[in-house]
């Protein structure tokens, strides 16, 4: 039996991969939050003639084809990429948890209808939906990109939460709450949601990595974050013609993506392991 969310987080922290992942994410978050104010302006007037220069002390990650400092672009691009990922996952967790709670608690035809809709949505590839949307909506604003990523990512979460709710509804403490006159909304908010939150949190953590990769992929295709706003995927796209002559232009943003996704997945793995009672 899983104890409180606090217990879950404590057990995940004891897991080595959870600790490393969390520390990496904290370092990345600090860099991304305070970095831009201490680094050269990533939007500085481009100097096309200077071109891409190899890493030096002045530009530790080198410069790109427009002679912009790659370190500062990676850092401010991280701000964009991480913010998008975080917000999109919050949206999908919110929608997914709500749909899952309603479907699992209400049951009957509401449950059947919602789950068939989810089945249908799961059958359509997410990337395809996003590509379609982004092709139709040129120069998409960031908030719309967040919404698009969020609203296409909640199907699995809703399934997971619904399954948990179905299991929890049979638990004596939920029946006890009903027997003592707790209303439906109170039962959902106080008894079902807090107990289903653990698995949903794991799914959300793993979803962060997925969204970062999706955003990078879309930006790489030129459909995500629009220039001159830096994003990791967009930087890799810009580096494509230079990948042999100036590899640092692709390596550093690429490494940032790998490091972030790895860290997030380590945390997700640790949470998952902490949730499994057999590993406790």
């Amino acid at each position: 039996m899983i104890g409180s969310l606090r217990d879950l987080l404590r057990r995940a922290w004891r897991h080595p991969s959870g600790r490393w992942g969390t520390l990496t994410l904290i370092v990345l978050a600090v860099l991304v939050l305070v970095g831009p104010s201490r680094l050269p302006d990533p939007f500085v007037m481009p100097d096309v003639l200077a071109g891409a220069t190899a890493p030096t002390l002045a530009h530790p990650f080198g410069t790109d084809q427009l002679n912009r400092d790659i370190l500062s672009r990676v850092v401010s691009g991280g701000r964009v990429s991480l913010a998008i990922a975080l917000l999109a996952v919050v949206v999908s967790l919110g929608v997914g948890a709500t749909v899952g709670l309603v479907a699992g608690y209400t049951g009957g035809w509401v449950d059947a209808l919602l789950m068939r809709l989810v089945d249908g949505a799961l059958a359509i590839p997410r990337l395809f939906v996003l590509l379609l949307l982004l092709v139709v909506w040129e120069r998409i604003p960031l908030w719309a990109l967040v919404l698009a990523l969020g609203t296409t990512g909640w199907f699995g979460t809703s399934r997971l939460v619904r399954g948990e709710v179905l299991r929890l509804r049979a638990e004596p403490f939920v029946q006890a709450a009903t027997a003592l006159g707790a209303s439906a909304s109170r039962t959902i908010a106080r008894h079902l949601f807090p107990n289903a939150a653990g698995p949903a949190l794991v799914a959300a953590t793993l979803g962060v990595g997925e969204v970062i990769l999706l955003e990078a992929g879309l930006s790489f295709l030129g459909l995500g974050v629009q220039p001159p706003t830096p994003s990791w995927g967009g930087m890799v796209l810009d580096a494509r013609p230079l990948i042999v002559s100036a590899p640092w232009t692709a390596i550093f943003p690429g490494a940032a993506i790998v490091l972030t996704v790895l860290a997030v997945n380590l945390v997700g793995d640790a949470l998952q392991a902490a949730l499994d009672p057999r590993s406790a």
Partner: protein, 326 residues
């Protein structure tokens, strides 16, 4: 005496595949007076827990309470209540203590939060008042250091303390009737006695009626004013406790007593009741106990026995007293 709870002809049906319906509870009559302790005793599967759930209209689907069943609580027809009125009965008029203290508490909320929730489910209180009330209830359930335990999680408490916390939750609505469904099954014998004494003290101080559901005649003996013995979905005997124990009227009750180990007689082997508890899918015809009864008559297999009043508040569903042969 005006009865607090008056159940008549309670039948609970579960549909089976193929259109058949089985009746695990089949015509139960039960009365509980104010401030009285009634024990409902029976083997596993006899329908006693289902009966208690029916009082709150909480029969798990696909089961349902059949037409013609009557449940009167202090004159209110529980069968006719709407959802909101029903919510007011649950917890407020009838409190329930569940069997398993390990799983009947929400593992992610503190004990205090859960008691407090039961307090605010039926009354609007300021946050500080609700907390004070919750701590008072924990104290009333005789949990040592109630203010300190308020912030404990269920897994930090022992089984006995958890059962006390469940009792505090059941008391929160100040119910007139407390249903305790096997409240001590999961506990050690010493803790069992303490919890039962606590329930009895609370009954006395609050003037609350208690319906004690148990499979243990010993538990019924010490606390109950009256005992109802249930077998195969029906109440087969009902009597004041002392009378039931000195002069059991139904062969099933007598067989139960014979199968209890005694300290004052040296027997090699305990008596047992031959056969097993029938399933609700195939209740025997006639008297439901007749295939296992040691005093069976010819007519028992064919005709359903009447409930015979034997005087002194005792009644039994049996042909023996009806035929004047015992």
């Amino acid at each position: 005496m005006t009865e607090l709870l008056d159940v008549r002809d309670l039948r609970i049906g579960f549909p089976l595949a193929g259109g058949r319906t089985v009746f695990p509870v089949d015509g139960v009559n039960l009365q509980v007076g104010r401030g009285e302790t009634v024990a409902l005793v029976g083997e596993s599967g006899c329908g006693k827990s289902l009966t208690s759930l029916a009082l709150l209209r909480l029969v798990p689907p696909p089961g349902s309470i059949m037409q013609g069943s009557r449940i009167l609580l202090d004159g209110t027809d529980v069968m006719a209540l709407g959802a909101e009125a029903l919510r007011q009965v649950r917890g407020r008029r009838i409190g329930m203590v569940f069997q398993d203290p390990m799983t009947s508490l929400n593992p992610v909320l503190t004990v205090g939060a859960q008691v407090r929730e039961a307090v605010t489910a039926h009354r609007r209180l300021k946050s500080s008042e609700a907390k004070a009330r919750a701590i008072a209830l924990l104290g009333e359930a005789e949990i040592p250091d109630p203010a300190g335990r308020y912030d404990s999680y269920p897994h930090e408490l022992s089984g006995g303390l958890r059962q006390r916390a469940l009792i505090a939750i059941a008391l929160a609505g100040e119910p007139d009737l407390l249903i305790a469904d096997e409240p001590t099954t999961a506990l050690d014998v010493t803790v069992q006695a303490q919890v039962l004494e606590l329930l009895d003290r609370l009954r006395a101080t609050r003037g609350m009626a208690v319906l004690l559901i148990t499979h243990d005649l010993g538990i019924a003996a010490g606390r109950a004013d009256r005992v109802a013995v249930m077998y195969a979905g029906q109440i087969v005997e009902e009597a004041p406790t002392a009378r039931l124990f000195t002069a059991p009227g139904h062969p099933y009750t007598r067989a139960l007593f014979r199968s209890i180990p005694r300290l004052d007689s040296a027997v090699e082997r305990l008596a047992q009741i031959p056969g097993g508890v029938p399933s609700a899918e195939a209740w025997p015809g006639g008297c439901r106990f007749h295939p296992r009864c040691s005093e069976v008559l010819a007519r028992c297999a064919a005709e359903v026995p009447p409930v015979v009043d034997e005087g002194g508040g005792q009644s039994a569903r049996c042909w023996l007293p009806a035929e004047g042969r015992r």
